[in-house]
């Protein structure tokens, strides 16, 4: 599903040149649950952004679902994202002006799904995430855990092949964090590929593989035995 070869990302400002990723290569197959770990500034989020087609690498190639996208324009990347990738962020990134229902519905609107189909699909996901009773609430009326459930619901609503989660439990207490990780795990079990950036060893335990980054390079890749 994902093949990265010598992915490099260099950020340049007027005086400083920072290499965030330095010739990173790996492959992720469909259905995998991969955790990316490493200290702050090691390039985790940069890698996630490139994998999520939010950014292009400075060098190297990135093949996503058989498309070489390292030099794709924003329009092409947006099209691929829209149909194939769901995102979960540490700070939820829910739109305050929209209700829970509307937040979850958002990706389907831009996929031009018919209104009735959208309603059915959102209700289905609301049930699945056990937040149906909160459908008409606004994000600020929810607890952190509930907000992240809504964010996960939004990420899965379009049935993406890949979910990218950036510190999904970072803003949650342990109980709510565990709930969210279980949700991701459940999604992985039914076949969704998940790539998760995390600082938490506990969260990483849910994954089948851990990629460790340091100074923009992969220093370690651990496959769990039961997965291999």
């Amino acid at each position: 599903m994902i093949k990265a070869e010598k992915l490099t990302k260099i950020f340049r400002t007027d005086e400083v040149e920072t290499t965030a990723l330095n010739a990173v290569s790996f492959e992720i197959k469909k259905g995998e649950f991969v955790a990316i770990m490493g200290p702050s500034g090691c390039g985790k989020s940069t890698l996630l952004n490139i994998l999520g087609l939010l950014d292009n690498p400075s060098a190297g190639t990135y093949t996503f679902l058989d498309h070489e996208v390292s030099k794709s324009n924003e329009r092409h990347r947006a099209g691929l994202r829209k149909h194939n990738i769901g995102f979960v962020f540490q700070n939820f990134n829910l739109i305050d002006e929209l209700t829970v229902f509307e937040n979850i519905e958002l990706p389907l609107i831009y996929l031009k799904m018919a209104s009735r189909d959208r309603r059915e699909r959102v209700n289905e996901v609301l049930e699945q995430m056990q937040i149906a009773h909160r459908a008409k609430h606004f994000p600020l009326q929810l607890s952190g855990g509930q907000q992240q459930r809504v964010a996960v619901a939004r990420a899965v609503i379009a049935k993406p092949a890949l979910i990218l989660a950036d510190e999904p439990t970072g803003n949650l207490d342990s109980a709510h964090g565990e709930e969210v990780m279980n949700l991701l795990n459940d999604l992985n079990i039914i076949g969704t590929t998940i790539i998760m950036v995390t600082h938490s060893q506990r969260d990483a335990e849910y994954s089948r593989r851990v990629i460790r980054l340091f100074d923009g390079q992969i220093i370690n890749e651990n496959f769990k035995k039961n997965y291999i």
Binding site: G52, L54, R75, L80, E97, Y110, R154
Partner: protein, 803 residues
């Protein structure tokens, strides 16, 4: 998707109450002003276009230039029209004259009703074949075919005949002839360069000229309109006119006269020549008002742009998430422009309400009958929609591209920074707003100063406490001496005289031949026909020689007063040298008996020129020329004296309506366009300051909100109100100073040009520039102080905890 976008748009509008209110309110004010001025401008531009053949109708204008002195006349001699028709039948479809005896008023009587009517004309029989009016009764083809026929307006018919059908009924004109009503037309559209209530057949006027119309090519009292044949253009006929002048005008004048055509539809806004039927508008003022209205709308649009980008930090998650889930940039642009359009159309609805409420007041100010009904026509409805659409588009495009260009990665991580470019852009927009506002403050103050100058300038005569009594064709003229003596018996009446025009407003030109000018070279000089005591009544200074003296029997027949400019013009050297010089007029050989100090015989738009005060001896001439009695009274608008004058008038002219006015009012009417412009620009400038101030208020509010954490930290470490105020003030103060720096020279240049259009004007006063600078700085500081106090009054610890 659209419903969703509409939903989010409205939720955003309600969420950001301050900016939404400023945006909607600002745009509504901008649009309302724009719509009002649009109504005004459309009305001004539509003058005379309602005539079916408007595009092929021209007015004949003659320029008489006698070595720098003369006139540019909107009217022509009687024989010109028929001669033109005979001379150029292949080019002219029709030609018509209208004529009013150059009388400001005409006495009309029907039964016991008698009024002095100002809008009575005599016209050639084909008048209604050239100009189109809606006939209620009568036939436009034949209504003026017969002598003593008159067509009247519906309002006039109601005034004299009530609900009766006036057709066939007679009205008495000047107590001399009866005119029979042969047609009634609907109200004359207000968009006419002249309005009329009575249009009598030209042949009826023959009675006053011993049976035939004047044949002279000198006296030019007929406004002459030419309808060109299809396919003939203005320049084709104009190229023939020099030959025409040579062939028909008198030898004494033909070298000095040039004829040209003036498009009917250009008259109202472009013609400011001698003997206009009514004062016209001014295209420059149409441009100025349009520009100010556009500025106001632009300032409101800038508010929208600034507040949209300033408050965009609250929408970063929405934008970022949409980008993340694959929404493309154009879709976001579309969304934000859509939101701007919603605001714009919301503002448009409010603006129409504002316009509807303010139209009655605006109409009084503009002296028009404008209404929103214009927008019921499909074209104008489309224009209105387009105004709303373009306003929304202009307001929304920049914020839309700005917001949609956010990098999702950055904004979702909370690394939102408007970036230096945006901050610079916002500041540039603030500078534009304040440059316009400051420029308009300076301009409005200057315009008012100029208007005050026009109204109060020393004209070379005393204009105060002069009562003008209209006596055109009034038998009182024949008993004038006796009437005058009775008036002078009242101690509150200082002086009485007679004159043929409103002094300081209008005058005619008359033919003269001063000493030294060849026999065949008659000159046309500006002149007033006056009577004894004119100099005394108007307090004119004699600088050489003497005034007319009734005891000197030859004065009326042979005496002539000229001004200093005339002495210079004729190259006679010292004023005293002019005394006794021959000055032939149509009345015979005359001599200069006195030289008076120059005065402004017309408005201050024009420079003073050589001038003659001529006295008539012949009773018939007096009857024809003397149209006003001017009375100097003690104290302006003394009611007792006025009623005394009226009682004497009624005694001497029983059955004649008494009509008087004050000279100061008549003089001020000359500056009606300037008065209107000043008032409009004052109103619009106040609105501009309000809208720009609101925009600044919004920006400062959001700047302070964004820097809440900084404020709190500064406050907790001991900063006080003064420090905070200075901190925020310097952000904006230098922008206002920069705006002043730009506005000052631009205003100076434009105002200098405007003032140059007046022959007499004030000098640009630095004080107005300083006032504009101080008021803009004070406004800015007041807004910042207000918002700073509000911020400081909030609990700093709360904000820190929140952060």
């Amino acid at each position: 998707m659209y419903l969703y976008q509409l939903k989010i748009a409205f939720r955003n509008i309600f969420k950001h109450k301050i900016s939404s209110t400023i945006n909607v309110f600002g745009l509504a004010i901008g649009l309302a002003s724009f719509i009002l001025i649009l109504l005004y401008v459309v009305d001004e531009l539509s003058y005379d276009r309602y005539h079916k053949n408007a595009d092929s109708i021209y007015r004949l204008v003659s320029i008489s230039d006698f070595e720098g002195v003369g006139e540019e006349s909107a009217s022509a001699p009687f024989p010109v029209a028929p001669t033109l028709m005979n001379e150029f039948p292949g080019m002219i479809e029709k030609v018509i004259r209208i004529f009013n005896f150059q009388a400001p008023r005409s006495l009309i009587k029907v039964g016991d009703k008698a009024y002095n009517e100002r809008n009575l004309f005599f016209a050639d029989s084909n008048f209604f074949q050239v100009f189109d009016y809606n006939f209620i009764y009568g036939d436009p083809q034949s209504a003026l075919n017969e002598s003593f026929a008159v067509v009247i307006t519906k309002q006039t018919a109601e005034k004299y005949f009530g609900q009766e059908n006036p057709m066939g009924k007679t009205i008495r004109y000047q107590d001399r002839i009866d005119l029979m009503v042969t047609g009634v037309v609907d109200q004359i559209p207000s968009t006419s360069h002249f309005t009329w209530d009575f249009m009598a057949s030209m042949s009826s006027a023959k009675t006053f000229f011993r049976g035939s119309l004047p044949k002279t090519w000198v006296w030019n009292p007929c406004w002459t309109y030419i309808q060109l044949k299809s396919g003939i253009n203005q320049s084709q006929l104009e190229s023939k006119l020099p030959e025409f002048v040579k062939k028909y005008y008198y030898d004494a004048t033909k070298e000095s006269i040039r004829l040209y055509l003036q498009a009917l539809t250009d008259i109202h806004l472009h013609s400011h020549i001698d003997y206009e039927i009514e004062p016209n508008g001014n295209i420059s003022y149409v441009y100025i008002l349009s520009a100010i209205a556009c500025f106001l709308l632009i300032i409101a649009i800038i508010n929208f742009m600034n507040l949209s980008t300033a408050t965009s930090s609250s929408r970063t998650i929405e934008i970022g998430m949409k980008k993340v889930i694959g929404v493309e940039k154009w879709q976001l642009v579309f969304q934000f422009v859509g939101e701007a359009l919603i605001i714009s159309f919301l503002a448009l609805i409010f603006s129409l309400i504002i316009v509807e409420i303010s139209l009655p007041y605006f109409n009084v100010l503009a002296n028009k009958q404008l209404s929103l009904s214009m927008f019921l026509e499909p074209f104008w409805a489309g224009v209105l929609f387009l105004i709303g659409f373009l306003t929304g588009l202009l307001s929304g495009l920049y914020p839309a591209f700005y917001l949609s260009s956010f990098q999702p990665l950055n904004v979702l991580k909370g690394h939102f920074d408007g970036g230096p470019r945006t901050i610079v852009a916002r500041k540039v927009l603030v500078v534009i707003q304040f440059t316009i506002s400051i420029g308009l403050i300076i301009s409005t103050l200057t315009a008012f100063d100029q208007l005050h100058f026009l109204r109060t300038a020393k004209l070379g005569f005393n204009k105060d406490a002069i009562v003008y009594i209209q006596v055109t064709g009034n038998p009182i003229v024949t008993k004038y001496e006796s009437f005058k003596n009775e008036l002078l018996a009242n101690p509150d009446i200082q002086a009485v005289t007679c004159v043929d025009d409103i002094f300081g407003v209008a005058h005619n030109t008359h033919e003269f031949r001063p000493e030294g000018v060849p026999e065949d070279k008659w000159q046309f000089y500006p002149a007033l026909v006056v009577d004894e005591d004119f100099v005394k009544t108007f307090d004119i200074q004699i600088v050489a020689g003497r005034d007319y003296n009734r005891n000197n029997k030859t004065d009326a027949a042979n005496g002539m007063l000229i001004n200093e400019a005339m002495v210079k013009y004729l190259g006679w050297g010292a004023n005293e040298n002019a005394l006794g010089k021959k000055f032939k007029s149509l009345s015979g050989d005359e001599r200069v008996i006195g030289v008076f100090k120059d005065f402004n015989a017309t408005s201050l738009h024009t420079t003073l020129s050589p001038f003659v005060l001529n006295i008539k001896e012949n009773e018939n001439e007096k009857y024809f020329f003397l149209k006003f009695i001017a009375v100097r009274i003690n104290g302006e608008k003394n009611a007792n004296t006025l009623s005394f004058i009226e009682s004497k008038f009624n005694q001497y002219a029983p059955g004649r309506p008494f009509e008087c006015s004050f000279l100061t009012d008549e003089l001020n009417k000359q500056y009606i366009e300037e008065t209107r412009l000043s008032r409009f620009s004052l109103g619009l400038t106040i609105l501009i300051i309000v809208v720009a101030g609101l925009g600044l208020f919004g920006l400062v509010s959001y700047m302070i909100a964004q820097r809440n954490r900084e404020i709190c930290i500064r406050l907790t470490i001991g900063a006080g109100m003064k420090e905070m105020f200075l901190l925020f003030s310097k952000e904006y103060l230098w922008l206002i100073l920069l705006s002043n720096l730009i506005a000052w020279p631009v205003s100076w240049l434009l105002l200098h040009r405007w003032l140059e259009s007046f022959a007499y004007h004030i000098n640009l006063d630095i004080i107005y520039f300083i006032v504009a600078a101080i008021s803009s700085i004070m406004l800015t500081l007041a807004i910042i102080l207000w918002r700073t106090i509000s911020a400081i009054r909030s609990n700093p610890l709360k904000a820190l905890r929140w952060e």
